[in-house]
Amino acid sequence: MSVDLATVKRVAHLARIAVSEEEAQRMMGELNGILGFVEQLGEVDVSGVEPMTSVMPMAMKERDDVVTDGNKADDVVANAPISDRNFFLVPKVVE
């Protein structure tokens, strides 16, 4: 499988990365190189093979459904580029 320029731009938008025309051109070549490399996986017979979902067979750990942390609003927004009274500020989303 290979990607064309329109696909590169669509994927970049899905990934929320702005790309220039020139970057999209360059990425198209690189992505096709990598996709060509991984193509060989198609030749492996995987009939009856389960996909690997965890490295060790183990049951998901559970814990009591209680609050164990919190009251750290200042800490949570401490690294925000823009915040006001412990709210993250973003450009207007809803008109």
Partner: protein, 493 residues
């Protein structure tokens, strides 16, 4: 007075305990060494001298009170991937511009609980994506090793290039590192140091910036096998904050050092003899086999037929998980923000400015293989192949093999800004050809220096073990270390 930075962790521990030296003296020795070398090597992205001295003074007080921890007063470097409270933590990316977390990663907290001293944060490939430490926003790290008669700067490997360079150049007693496809073992091999990636689940991933969550594991890079064992003992733990951390007691790994390998079965996988591999690597491998045979181990040929599919499967699984993990960098909660005409424009401009080329490339691959219509063809197929890779190892271990010996890397360290590698991402990816299978199967692997090539550059061997049998790796690696000797670069920096 002898140079205190030359002491191994075990030696420093002894001298600190005997009160021959103080933790403050030891820390000061490292801070001076960093001061003199870092401009050239670029191993540290942030040095924390005040914090280091404060921690060292506290260590001296605890030693005086007879309350010394397992790593009391030992100065360490910390890879920039580990969250360290109020200290630079950026995964060497521009997108985490100015980020100083309000929390401490479990692994580093474990180290501080045992008395270790933090010298600063170490350079790395951006988000741990790279094999040469050239994708760092803070520029490449130089390998303290140079080829005989050459002044060409070489890469220290990656992604834990700062960790490996700092340990090899005596800029810390040991370092934390992480390994998703070879990022501990490949730089260890390139710098003549010892690096172990423990079994997936042995160290908590909590507070470590995520790259590919089903593959990422923390581990140490150290000057010798014993030091690596000492560090891993402190780093490893069961952690309620990471549900993938495994509920098994952490053994005293140091006890494995010096144990006999007599009667052990060492597997030699024929699939690791790859086309175009330098003869020297093959010769080194044979040397390793001979050393272990001499020490009483039995050598058996094994087959791991799906080896060649590990790297392509990795380049689906890792980017897929990365594209999902890195979705959080949106210019809202932390790090860089570039304004745009609306919120989507702000996201797109922020991420375009904040991520480097290699990171963008991998996010794009990951987004593509997870996008509608391609999930089964790529991601599901890769996860099935992963099951087969794991099964190959299980069959070998079921047949009685205790550990597997392979080369660590297909070459010694290469030059910074190598044009061949820069032009072809896949070529760079091939650096991890011997290490990546281990991550795919979740197994422990150690890289140990085994010799120098014709250019005088270090080469390493890799041992792969059964899940949670790191002790077997330490004891076997120690036999190789005893036979091969230790390797240090000539100081030019």
């Amino acid at each position: 007075m002898t140079d205190l930075t030359r002491l191994t962790i075990a030696e420093a521990r002894e001298k600190l305990g005997a009160k021959e030296i103080t933790a403050v003296e030891l820390t000061d020795a490292y801070l001076s060494a960093i001061d003199a070398a870092n401009e050239t090597l670029n191993a540290y992205v942030t040095v924390t001298p005040d914090k280091a001295r404060e921690m060292a003074r506290a260590s001296d007080a605890r030693i005086a009170e007879g309350k010394a921890g397992a790593l009391e007063g030992i100065p360490l470097g910390i890879k920039d991937l580990f969250g360290t409270r109020d200290v630079h933590t950026q995964a060497c990316s521009h997108i985490l511009d100015g980020f100083k977390p309000k929390y401490e990663s479990t692994v580093t907290q474990n180290l501080w609980n045992d008395g270790a001293v933090m010298l600063g944060k170490l350079n790395m490939d951006e988000f741990a994506m790279g094999s040469s430490n050239e994708t760092s926003y803070y520029g490449p790290v130089k390998n303290p090793w140079r080829a005989n008669g050459s002044n060409l700067d070489l890469v220290p490997g990656g992604s834990s290039g700062g960790s490996a360079s700092a340990v090899a150049a005596f800029l810390c007693a040991g370092a934390t590192a992480t390994d998703t496809g070879g990022s501990i073992r490949q730089p260890a091999a390139f710098t003549g140091t010892v690096g172990i990636k423990p079994t997936y689940g042995r160290c908590s991933r909590w507070g470590v910036v995520a790259f590919a969550s089903s593959l990422d594991q923390a581990g140490p890079i150290a000057r010798d096998v014993r030091d690596a064992a000492i560090l891993l003992k402190s780093m490893a733990s069961v952690d309620a904050k990471d549900t993938t951390s495994v509920d098994l007691p952490v053994p005293d790994y140091e006890k494995a050092i010096g144990q006999s390998v007599k009667g052990m079965k060492i597997g030699i996988p024929k699939e690791y003899r790859v086309d175009g591999m330098p003869e020297e690597i093959e010769a080194l491998w044979l040397k390793g086999i001979a050393w272990l045979k001499e020490a009483g181990a039995e050598i058996v040929d094994i087959t791991l037929p799906h080896t060649k599919y590990a790297l392509p499967a990795y380049y689906i699984v890792a980017p897929a998980e990365a594209s999902s993990n890195l979705a959080r960098y949106d210019g809202v909660r932390y790090g860089l923000r570039v304004d745009g005409k609306d919120i989507v424009d702000m996201y797109e401009k922020t991420r375009a400015a904040g991520f480097g080329k290699e990171v963008k490339r991998r996010i794009m691959i990951g987004t593509y293989v997870l996008s509608a219509g391609y999930y089964d063809a790529y991601y599901l197929q890769a996860q099935k192949v992963r099951t087969l890779i794991k099964r190959d190892f299980e069959l070998a271990f079921d047949a009685g093999v205790d550990a597997i010996l392979t080369p660590a890397t297909p070459s010694s360290a290469f030059g910074i800004a190598d044009e061949d590698l820069a032009a072809d991402p896949v070529k760079m990816y091939l650096n991890d050809i011997f290490t990546v299978t281990v991550n795919m199967a979740g197994l422990p692997g150690i890289a140990v220096p085994a010799g120098l090539d014709h250019k005088g550059l270090p080469l390493g061997l890799q041992l792969i073990g059964k899940p949670f049998e790191e002790e077997t790796l330490f004891k076997t690696a120690h036999v190789i270390e005893q036979a091969a000797g230790r390797f240090s670069p000539k100081k030019w920096w």
